[in-house]
């Protein structure tokens, strides 16, 4: 019985894992449409599964000077489910899409190179449960 439960749990975990990956892939494909062809992808996909709107996913990235970046942020299959904030190294808030109707993408013209922290969380008003958060970065020279 114990072996059966362990086996079942492995199967269950694999099943949920595959399903979650498939959902994330779908969201990533939708999100990629926001990185239009004037922007070059940075070649990476930033994704995290968030359990609820109180969880925050975070990563650091360097914005190089004289560059325009586009950041796309998605969850679910419609726009506006993900809130994202960008801070500088001293935690000054540089941007939030919260007051921009959770815009799914935004452009940033960067004057001089700086280290940033990008945070993402599900919007409680639109996401009652958990979800896959996907962020993409594109760039172009000014």
């Amino acid at each position: 019985m114990k072996k059966f439960i362990i086996a079942l749990s492995f199967v269950s975990i694999a099943s949920v894992f595959n399903k979650a990956n498939a959902q994330c892939d779908t969201i990533a494909n939708i999100c990629a449409k926001h990185i239009i062809s004037t922007f070059i992808s940075d070649g990476q996909q930033y994704r995290a599964l968030l359990l609820n709107s109180e969880e925050t996913a975070e990563f650091q990235t360097t914005f190089f000077g004289e560059t325009t970046y586009r950041i796309a942020a998605c969850s679910g299959t419609s726009d506006g489910n993900l809130i994202f904030n960008i801070y500088d190294q001293d935690r000054h808030l540089l941007f939030t899409n919260r007051d921009k109707k959770n815009a799914p993408y935004w452009d940033f013209k960067v004057k001089s190179t700086l280290e940033t922290i990008i945070e993402a969380q599900l919007d409680a008003n639109r996401n009652p449960g958990s979800g896959c958060a996907v962020m993409l970065i594109g760039f172009k020279q000014k």
Binding site: S37, Q45, Q89, W106
Partner: protein, 303 residues
């Protein structure tokens, strides 16, 4: 990407089974409401994330190549890794690193509109991916589009970026983050090689500062690679750690300036400035270290 948790899961096993059963029953519901978000559990989340629950960002090698071209540096094939060395790499470690290097070279030659060379590097990328057993990571239709657009510089830049983003996602999905990390590392090393070589050929402030500004990217790579206990990866991490010690001496003076947002254009101007203080000696030390690390990677078969 780091996750800050405020709620911890209890009885994960029971919840996993329950969610799995519910999710398998819910397939029809998903078709009805496509906006519904996936229900998942903590155990899943940690396995989807990159390394130890964190994701890291490494700058695109194409971005460095763009800066070098903008600085007036002419195309120089001798800077690049020879595209015909694919068969000399025998371990997954060397194949992955060189796949990253060839990807960066593909971006570089495309930027300079070197069609014939681009086809050579494209072939090398495909061959190495095949040898690693990850040919599925490079989406066939994207690879075909690259081949068909090889004479169009702008399309090539975009398509190479898309191809590498797709492979990054595929490798993470299939729990092959080790390979993904090494590809990123190879690409970064090659982009640093572009920078230090360009700076030697034609010194410019832009390239000099770009070399110095790689401190965070280097820190991210060290964190990514530190997860592995494989001897070859540990040795590479040690080399990168030595490089980071040189970076520790570089000074950055950051000055916050309030950003300005144009909501109509969906555009924010980030006006903060960073002053970089890097000496000639530090640049020389970085140059030597990059050369040493890269030589070891591209000559892996001879070691």
């Amino acid at each position: 990407m780091k996750i800050h948790k405020k709620i911890l899961n209890k009885n994960v096993l029971a919840f996993t089974i329950a969610v799995s059963l519910l999710s398998s029953c819910g397939d029809k519901k998903e078709d009805v409401n496509k906006d519904e978000l996936v229900e998942t559990v903590d155990t899943v989340k940690t396995s989807v994330l990159n390394v130890g629950g964190e994701l890291f960002s490494v700058p695109s090698p194409i971005q460095t190549a763009l800066l070098i071209q903008k600085s007036g540096i002419s195309y120089d094939k001798s800077t690049l890794h020879a595209s015909n060395k694919v068969n000399t790499f025998t371990t997954d470690f060397s194949k992955s690193l060189n796949l990253g290097i060839y990807g960066a070279d593909l971006g570089y030659v495309s930027l300079y509109n070197q069609t014939q060379d681009a086809l050579g590097y494209l072939a090398s990328v495909k061959q190495l991916a095949d040898k690693l057993g990850i040919s599925a990571a490079f989406d066939a239709s994207t690879m075909e589009r690259i081949k068909n657009n090889v004479t169009n510089k702008d399309s090539m830049m975009v398509l190479v970026g898309i191809a590498y983003r797709g492979s990054d996602a595929y490798l993470k999905n299939n729990q092959r983050t080790g390979i993904s990390s090494l590809i990123l590392t190879g690409g970064w090393i090659e982009s640093m090689h572009f920078s230090v070589t360009a700076y030697k050929t034609k010194p410019s402030e832009g390239v000099r500062f770009r070399i110095a500004e790689q401190k965070q990217a280097l820190g991210s790579l060290i964190k990514i690679l530190s997860v592995s206990t494989e001897a070859e990866v540990t040795a590479l991490t040690a080399q990168l750690t030595e490089l980071s010690k040189i970076y520790d001496g570089i000074q950055f003076k950051y000055n916050f300036v309030e950003p300005v947002t144009d909501t109509t254009k969906k555009l924010t101007y980030i006006n903060s400035t960073t002053e970089v203080i890097v000496s000639d000696e530090q640049i020389a030390l970085i140059t030597d270290k990059i050369k040493e690390i890269r030589n070891k990677i591209i000559n892996a078969s001879q070691s």
